[in-house]
């Protein structure tokens, strides 16, 4: 690597330095916009005791779900985990710690973490199990709870296009948590469908500036669909 060129040539290189017990923040919503090849590399490396921060945990055989059979995940911070039988089994048996976190709070925890804000107050979760043990404070007559931000040893991100400097463009709702995740990793690794030369992306169209990105790799993607819903043609 030279200068601002973030491109690496193998997934092994992309996830180099990941060891047991690290915290990984992942982009993606359901199976949409997940860094599927980076997840496969984590499985291949076999690291254990990981804390995963991700809105969901994939399905049994795709996405973060593939890290469950070998018990690589020790704890997950997520908002919705309902699509995964092995996940449910490990959670119920206590093998897997789950910190259910409201989706907006999770997004904000990543955003704040990446922005150097250690904690923030929010009305979300007041008076619910989420508020247990958290500082409560009133502002303008309304109660808010203190939520701490999150940073990770690694952040794994899926974008659509990038230039070699790591400037990123996302596509449609595959954007979701990816831009926040990208800011919140000590080492942020991004996989994309296309890498172009610096200058080819219009600076106005860049969603995530390259300053957040440490490593960049071009991959091929299955892009599995979770709920295939259609209307008949001609309507």
């Amino acid at each position: 690597m030279a200068g601002f060129n973030k491109v690496v040539n193998s997934y092994e290189e992309a996830m180099a330095g990941l060891t047991d017990n690290m915290t990984i923040i992942s982009g993606g919503f359901g199976l949409c916009g997940i860094p599927e090849n980076l997840i496969s590399e984590i499985k291949r490396k076999g690291c254990k005791g990981l804390t995963l921060v991700s809105n969901n945990c994939g399905v049994d055989d795709f996405g973060l779900g593939i890290l469950l059979p070998d018990r690589q995940i020790q704890k997950i911070v997520a908002s919705y985990v309902g699509e995964n039988a092995e996940f449910e089994r490990q959670m119920m048996s206590g093998e897997l710690a789950v910190e259910l976190t409201p989706q907006g709070t999770l997004a904000e925890k990543m955003r704040a973490g990446g922005a150097g804000i250690p904690a923030f107050y929010t009305a979300t979760g007041v008076g619910t199990p989420v508020a247990e043990g958290k500082d409560v404070r009133q502002f303008n007559g309304r109660e808010y709870i203190l939520e701490e931000s999150i940073t990770g040893d690694f952040a794994i991100v899926k974008a659509w296009k990038a230039d070699k400097f790591g400037n990123l463009v996302f596509r449609k709702t595959a954007r979701n948590f990816n831009p926040m995740a990208a800011t919140a990793g000590k080492i942020t690794v991004v996989e994309v469908e296309e890498i172009v030369e610096p200058g080819e992306l219009d600076p106005d169209e860049i969603h995530t500036p390259g300053i957040y990105v440490n490593r960049l790799i071009k991959g091929t993607f299955e892009k599995r669909i979770e709920q295939r819903t259609t209307r008949p043609a001609g309507e």
Binding site: G30, C32, T128, V130, T173, N176, P179, M180, R228
Partner: protein
């Protein structure tokens, strides 16, 4: 007769106003989109990061990168915009969404709502529901009035873990349209052919019944 799922959605749709930004939850709330009155413009917000959700795609239009909060493939309406999850919840938590419609397991007289977890049975997570109920002022909860076993879901105190505290003001069930204020349920409308007595019987929390309770109009 108790309302069908479609009829519940149809009645909710009467609460829409031209120019509303609306978030519809999974299940019955999603059906509200089918009953937007002709000539009215409503934009649907999907909390994974889409404002201006369109209809389902044709087989040829399917795009794995374009889904709604229920993870279903969708399309974008004219004038749609795409944004990240922090931006999406800034809209929701900042109170910019005009109407939120979502389902629940239980609601109580203090406006508390339980909708995301049945301890020991169902632990899937709250997704965006806690943010939606905390951030929105105008919320309609849709649910059946009672369980299959005839147990009321309109309670003095919710028995399940809460999704939000003191945030629900309107509930539309298959039997009645109910407002919550000052620690009581207030019966606004009844489903066509459903008697006040039936509603009273299936409402566990204190219910204020005015002298005249109109039938719902569609």
């Amino acid at each position: 007769m108790a309302l069908s799922r479609d009829q519940i959605a149809q009645r909710v749709a009467l609460e829409l106003q031209d120019g509303y930004y609306v978030n519809l939850g999974i299940g019955i709330p999603t059906l509200v989109a089918n009953f937007v009155p002709d000539g009215m413009e409503v934009m649907l917000q999907s909390e994974n990061g889409l404002l201006g959700m369109g209809q389902f795609p044709t087989e040829a239009e399917i795009d794995a990168d374009l889904i709604n909060a229920g993870k279903q493939t969708v399309t974008m309406a004219t004038g749609a915009s795409i944004f990240d999850s922090a931006e999406s919840f800034a809209m929701i938590r900042g109170g910019h969404v005009d109407l939120t419609v979502l389902g629940a397991f239980e609601v109580d007289v203090n406006g508390n709502i339980a909708s995301y977890m049945i301890p020991g049975k169902l632990i899937k997570g709250m997704g965006g529901a806690m943010d939606l109920v905390a951030g929105a002022d105008n919320i309609i909860v849709t649910m059946t009035h009672a369980s299959k076993h005839g147990e009321s879901k309109l309670l003095t105190n919710c028995s399940l873990p809460l999704t939000g505290k003191g945030c629900i003001k309107k509930v539309l069930t298959d039997l009645a349209f109910i407002e919550i204020k000052a620690g009581k349920f207030h019966l606004l409308e009844r489903a066509p052919g459903v008697s006040v007595e039936e509603i009273v019987k299936l409402t566990a929390g204190e219910l204020v019944v005015p002298e005249h309770v109109p039938e719902m109009q569609f």
